[in-house]
């Protein structure tokens, strides 16, 4: 019993040790959002990841952050992370230069239901930076296109200058059986796309309830309205999956900072089927 406890503690201690990675490239997506490409610094390749998983990134001297992986899961050489600069640590992260060292732990957490979605339509609904954790799922679906029916991507952002992966969205929109609709909360005269909230895009979509799996990521209030809209259109709650975010610290269900009802977001999430979290979803205290 005591040995098992010691072994568990040792394993947890190892899990808390970051492995070294090097910044290979920093790509500017918007005025405040950047994608970092990290390569393993130890010669040993990164472990694989499933779309939707995150890593803990350690900016030495600044702090550690949970960041979702935003690249292609079949690109084994490097991991991509898309980060919006909103505070001290994210600012330090996006200011990294090629060659800088970053500590990484993970990948951790649950993943998007890509097996469950086989043979069905996939509806991706993203808001703001929320498109980043969904991009690996899109890459995966496009690589295994025959396994899925229609791919519908609905994406909302504050303004045209806040849209990330813009070129890729345009490219995806030209693919067969793929519908990409983008909207912004407000735009200038040069923006001829949709203006309005992301739920407004649903009237341009022919949704097939019971034959669609929805994957949603964005601000929680946006996800709430998206879920109401989809339920009103007959989508069963069990076919809705969302990515939740809370104040993660350890990333392995050890510290309890990200407890959400009976779950830890880091260990049991961040991706949850909606019907498993609906009792807690939108509660002020959580």
């Amino acid at each position: 019993m005591a040995v098992a406890k010691l072994e568990r503690e040792a394993a947890e201690a190892n899990e808390m040790l970051p492995r070294m990675a090097r910044v290979a490239q920093v790509r500017k997506e918007t005025y405040d959002t950047f994608t970092l490409a990290l390569e393993s610094a130890g010669g040993e390749p990164f472990p694989g990841f499933a779309p939707g998983q995150f890593s803990m990134l350690y900016v030495f001297g600044n702090g550690e952050l949970p960041i979702s992986i935003s690249g292609d899961p079949e690109d084994h050489g490097r991991l991509l992370y898309t980060v919006r600069s909103v505070g001290k640590t994210t600012q330090a992260l996006v200011s990294s230069q090629p060659g800088d060292g970053i500590g990484t732990r993970g990948p951790y957490g649950s993943h998007w239901p890509l097996k469950v979605a086989r043979g069905k339509d996939v509806l991706i609904v993203a808001g703001g930076i929320g498109l980043a954790p969904l991009r690996p799922a899109i890459h995966y679906i496009l690589r295994h296109r025959a396994d899925y029916n229609r791919l519908i991507i609905l994406y909302g952002a504050r303004s045209p200058r806040d849209l990330i992966f813009r070129k890729q969205l345009e490219d995806w929109g030209r693919l067969p059986d793929t519908q990409v609709l983008t909207t912004v909360d407000y735009g200038g005269l040069s923006w001829t796309g949709h203006v309005g909230v992301v739920t407004g895009l649903f009237r341009n979509v022919r949704l097939q309830p019971f034959h669609t799996v929805a994957m949603i990521c964005g601000p929680e209030i946006m996800m709430r309205y998206v879920i109401w809209e989809m339920e009103a259109r007959g989508m069963p709650p069990g076919d809705l999956y969302l990515s939740l975010e809370r104040n993660m610290k350890c990333g392995i269900g050890f510290c309890g900072h990200c407890q959400y009802g009976p779950n830890f977001i880091c260990k049991d999430g961040p991706i949850f089927p909606y019907h498993e979290v609906r009792s807690w979803f939108g509660r002020y205290e959580l």
């Binding site: 005269l189 009237r203 601000p219």
Partner: protein, 174 residues
Amino acid sequence: MGAALSGASRGFEESAMTLDNLVNTLFEHPFLQGFAPEHIDKLAAMASEVCFRKSELIFREGDESSFFYLLLSGKVALETNMPGRTLRIVTLGTGEELGWSSMTAHHSKQFQARSLEETRALAFDGVRLQHACDEDCRLGYTLMRAMLRVVAQRLQSTRLQLVDLYSPLSAQVG
């Protein structure tokens, strides 16, 4: 009740659609789902098909326009002008409605509307519509319920836009 103005004096190109076509088109428009056939007939008698060219201003802020439109195809932006720039605040497309304020007492437009692509719509004179609602209260009730649904949707969307939900600050405000 005054006769409808000609298309040219209303600032758009009017095209002819037979009454049967108008009735069928109205039956299929999402705004009029659930309307009784006799009400659709009354509305068809008041409707005229109009087309707007790409980039055409349908109405300007402050215009005295009483028209209500059901969009059949194309895309329209509602815009507001500020010193030095124009901001698009919502776009409307096929199956949506434009100009609900024509059903209120004030017909002065608070935003400007511009077609972003060639747009087809059915136009109704708001004054005539209001008279028809006064004369036939069941039509009026049904129409006002449909209009309320539109206004409530727009209000909800506007509130969400005001929340600025994609801003990192909106997550931090306690």
